[in-house]
């Protein structure tokens, strides 16, 4: 057996490992604050720009406008129409990725050092002078409508959408960010421009850069990119109220497998028990092949290809949710085992060995996240949005290392409750589900 031989050495090294890169907090000449990691070994730079406040800033009756707008940001800007913009991006071999989430709009950009000035000018145009021409509006509208139509026939989508609608009702977290066919069909250029003004607010921007750029150049870049974005923007939404819905919601769908989406209320990121809950979830249904749910459902009984659960945290809500698929004939048994495991961990907590293994995994996996300039830039901007200090990277693991068995037991009892679970099942399950 190899077990035990190497198991405990790892986290001793972590703090020094992470000193491999140095994070500088910089302020541009114009006063924009950002984080920088200089990494000159490869001649390119990755930048991550996030605006706090994402698709949940959608105005009443305009659900989908912000998502629509974000899909149009590289469809023409300044002097360039959609084709001109795309050709310029291609010529510079730069990449701009615009993504929209419930609580943020994110821009991941990378460009070669040799093309930096031109690439930054192009990105500036997309951020400050997007055109929102009618032609691309219609083209992208048809693509979004096609996706919305397809989503209606995807069991995974039906399951998660149903779950969140029941969980959060009228709050934006309760509906899909793409909007509905009816609303997307009716959105106008004016709505798109409004959506842009609602999201692009300079006081809500967070930036990091990792790569072949120094502090002075980065300062200039920040001012060039962001100083002309106005201050303002629509005020951020109120927190969502979780409906505390329980039981089962069966959605008929003709497919060999049933898709199950489940969950209940969660825990806030800043809660003193957050790391205990995070570790608990890892043991119950987290990454990898070793979680209790994976072991019981897949390894021991062959009831699913995979199951996982995770803490889902928004700026204004928190849940623990999970998902799996199982043949219609076996899904009732799979849910029964899931409920049993949920109840068991809640009443008994975890074993010493499980806690020890979870600690070495979670603390060891953390530094592996920092692999590559773009990944690091993404993490650093995320930290700024959560108002975490630079030093968090070297102290984060101690939150996990200091957990005691009693902490997990206490938090399991408080946080996990099998009776509170809500299940959405999409398929044609054979048999009857039991419990609450």
């Amino acid at each position: 057996m190899f077990r035990g031989l190497f198991a405990f050495i790892y986290f001793l090294g972590i703090a020094s490992h992470l000193c491999a890169f140095e994070i500088k907090e910089v302020t541009s000449p114009g006063g924009i604050k950002a984080w920088l990691v200089e990494e000159h070994s490869i001649p390119f730079t990755a930048i991550q720009i996030n605006f706090k406040g994402g698709s949940s800033l959608d105005r009443a009756g305009k659900r989908g406008a912000i998502h629509f707008m974000s899909a149009l940001l590289e469809e023409g800007a300044g002097e360039l129409d959609a084709s001109g913009f795309a050709e310029e991006l291609e010529r510079l071999a730069a990449y701009f990725n615009f993504n929209i989430y419930d609580d943020s709009l994110t821009i991941s950009a990378k460009f070669l050092t040799e093309n930096r000035d031109e690439a930054v000018s192009l990105l500036r145009m997309a951020l400050i002078e997007p055109r929102f021409d009618l032609d691309p509006i219609e083209r992208v509208r048809n693509q979004i409508l096609s996706i919305l139509n397809s989503n209606k026939k995807k069991p995974q989508k039906i399951a998660s959408e149903t779950f969140y609608r029941k969980a959060f009702a009228e709050h934006p977290y309760g509906s899909q960010k793409e909007g509905t066919i009816k609303i997307v069909s009716s959105l106008t250029q004016k709505d798109i421009r409004q959506a842009y003004r609602d999201v692009f607010a300079r006081e809500r921007v967070f930036v990091s850069a990792v790569g072949d750029i120094d502090e002075l150049e980065f300062g200039k870049l920040l001012d060039k990119l962001l100083m002309d974005i106005p201050v303002g923007g629509k005020s951020l939404p109120n927190p969502a109220v979780y409906s505390e819905v329980t039981g089962y919601n069966l959605v008929d769908f003709d497919s060999p497998q049933a898709v199950v989406f489940f969950g209940h209320r969660g825990i806030k990121l800043g809660d003193p028990d957050f790391f205990a809950a995070y570790t608990l979830n890892h043991i119950l249904g987290g990454d990898g092949f070793g979680s209790r749910l994976m072991t019981k459902l897949r390894e021991k009984n062959g009831l699913t290809y995979g199951i996982s659960s995770y803490l889902a945290n928004w700026d204004g809500a928190e849940l623990i949710v999970g998902q799996f698929s199982s043949l219609n004939e076996s899904v009732v048994e799979a849910v029964k085992i899931l409920r049993f495991e949920w109840q068991k961990i809640s009443s008994e907590g975890v074993t010493m060995e499980e806690l020890r293994d979870a600690k070495t995994y979670l603390t060891g996996a953390y530094p592996l996240r920092f692999d590559g300039n773009a990944r690091i830039a993404g993490i650093l901007t995320g930290m700024q949005m959560r108002e975490l200090p630079v030093s968090y990277i070297s102290t984060r693991n101690s939150n996990i290392e200091s957990l005691a068995l009693e902490d997990l037991k206490r938090v399991a009892k408080k946080f996990l409750n099998e009776k509170d679970l809500y299940f959405v099942v999409v398929g044609r399950p054979v048999g009857k589900f039991s419990g609450n």
Binding site: F6, P155, D254, N301
Partner: protein
């Protein structure tokens, strides 16, 4: 360029990546194991990947799915480890692990702190020779792969369509059989067949080890010799030779209907050459052709003609990957705009190809694409996992290190004339399969 739409893509195209030669070194052990070391010292992390030169295309007739099934079973017990202990040991050491199977290879990998490389090698070498399978393992894991098939293929009409098209494309070669297996054959997978496959192909002389990250070639050599050096090779293992395709003399067409289809589309694929050792010229031209025709939604030939100018398509793309042991395919997909039928979409497809062959290559566009390819090799250095994967998949597809390292040069030296010559292949539909993907309720299907 609307990202969500990429869900339609089957293969992400692009020039597979290489690294400056000075960062890559290679050596062979006496038992035939080839080792590739890729150095990247920016973070104290290593990727350890063991690639076997065997995949689904090497299965015996009637045993489809056995290569992938075996991949799952390598996470069960060995003489030294309990079932599941491989992964739990990796996790306990802060790493993550997984495996994947294709027609041409089966690969196992771990990402972990670089000081754990020896442990990874010790465990990986152990399971190359010492797995112990019970009938219970077989029974349970067979259920798991059947669930996997149900989730990834049977619940996904696009995947079913792709499986059907592939089966029609290859009239004789095993690429026509899905990697995961046909359900009725998967249900029959047993211990005896699985172990026979294991004993024959899981050997150092059928494997390639790729170690990438914060390591030195000398250390890797020492560790690899210690852990893998004593493994016995399979005697008499020959170079892989699969049955070949006969001449394709008739255009093939399929119509796939499923009530879960919301968005109809048409896909055409052609049987074409793959990258071959010492002979990558045609594959390089095909790679550039795919980029020119359908690499970018807004600037490519298809995108410009059908999405921007005439608005006849919601989405279009051309795709080709030369990484394949035997002959591969070149594909084109057109998703028609509302109101356009699949018949019209197919006419559009043919018309754009015809016009391209007539009008020739836009030199400006070709220059931009070559710039992107040059840049992609710089960006690739940021992704050590991707580099390890690129080397492993190329080496198990029959290429040499020299082939991998000369590939960027091959791509940048492709001429417009060579691209046009390969484009003419697309005019011959006898080597093609055209598939319509639709809902039975689609009145506008034809």
């Amino acid at each position: 360029m609307y990202k969500l739409f990429l869900a339609f893509l089957f293969l992400q195209i692009g020039s597979s990546t290489v690294l400056a030669a000075e960062n890559v070194s290679t050596f062979d052990l006496n038992n035939g194991l080839k080792v590739v070391v890729i150095e990247d010292h920016r973070a104290p992390v290593v990727v350890h990947m063991l690639w076997y030169k065997v995949g689904a295309a090497d299965e015996e007739t009637g045993r489809s799915g056995v290569a992938h099934f075996l991949e799952h079973l390598l996470f069960k017990a060995t003489n030294r480890l309990k079932a599941g202990e491989f992964s739990s040991t990796v996790e306990r050491n802060g790493g993550s692990d997984n495996a994947f199977t294709s027609w041409d290879y089966t690969a196992y990998y771990q990402r972990i702190s670089s000081d754990r490389l020896g442990l990874m090698m010790q465990m990986e070498a152990d399971r190359m020779k010492n797995i112990r399978l019970t009938d219970e393992n077989i029974g349970n894991e067979r259920k798991v792969v059947l669930e996997e098939r149900a989730q990834r293929i049977d619940s996904n009409p696009g995947a079913l369509f792709s499986e059907q098209r592939q089966a029609v494309m290859y009239m004789n070669h095993p690429y026509g059989i899905p990697v995961i297996g046909w359900r009725h054959e998967m249900e029959q997978l047993n211990r005896r067949d699985t172990l026979a496959f294991y004993k024959k192909y899981y050997a150092p002389n059928a494997a390639i080890l790729v170690v990438a990250g914060d390591v030195s070639p000398a250390d890797v050599k020492k560790l690899a010799s210690r852990h893998y050096g004593s493994l016995r090779p399979t005697i008499g293992l020959l170079e892989r030779k699969r049955v070949l395709e006969p001449p394709h003399l008739a255009e093939r067409r399929i119509v796939f209907e499923d009530e879960r289809v919301a968005q109809p589309y048409v896909v055409r694929s052609y049987l074409v050459k793959e990258r071959n050792a010492g002979n990558q010229g045609e594959a390089a031209a095909l790679t550039m052709l795919a980029e020119l025709l359908g690499g970018n939604q807004t600037t490519s030939v298809f995108g410009k003609a059908l999405q921007i100018k005439t608005k006849r398509a919601l989405y279009s793309s051309a795709f080709y990957s030369g990484l394949s042991y035997d002959e591969t395919s070149f594909g084109i997909i057109i998703v028609p705009s509302p109101g356009r039928t699949l018949g019209q979409a197919e006419e559009d497809l043919d018309e754009v190809i015809k016009n391209f062959v007539r009008d020739g290559v836009d030199e400006e566009q070709l220059r931009r694409i070559k710039m992107q390819i040059r840049a992609s090799h710089i960006y690739a250095e940021d992704d050590v996992f991707g580099l390890a994967k690129a080397y492993g998949s190329a080496l198990t597809s029959g290429l040499s290190i020299a082939d991998i390292q000369s590939w960027p040069e091959k791509l940048s030296s492709v001429t417009s004339a060579e691209i046009l010559t390969t484009a003419e292949l697309l005019l011959d539909k006898r080597k093609s399969v055209t598939g319509w993907y639709k809902n039975q309720d689609d009145k506008g299907g034809n």
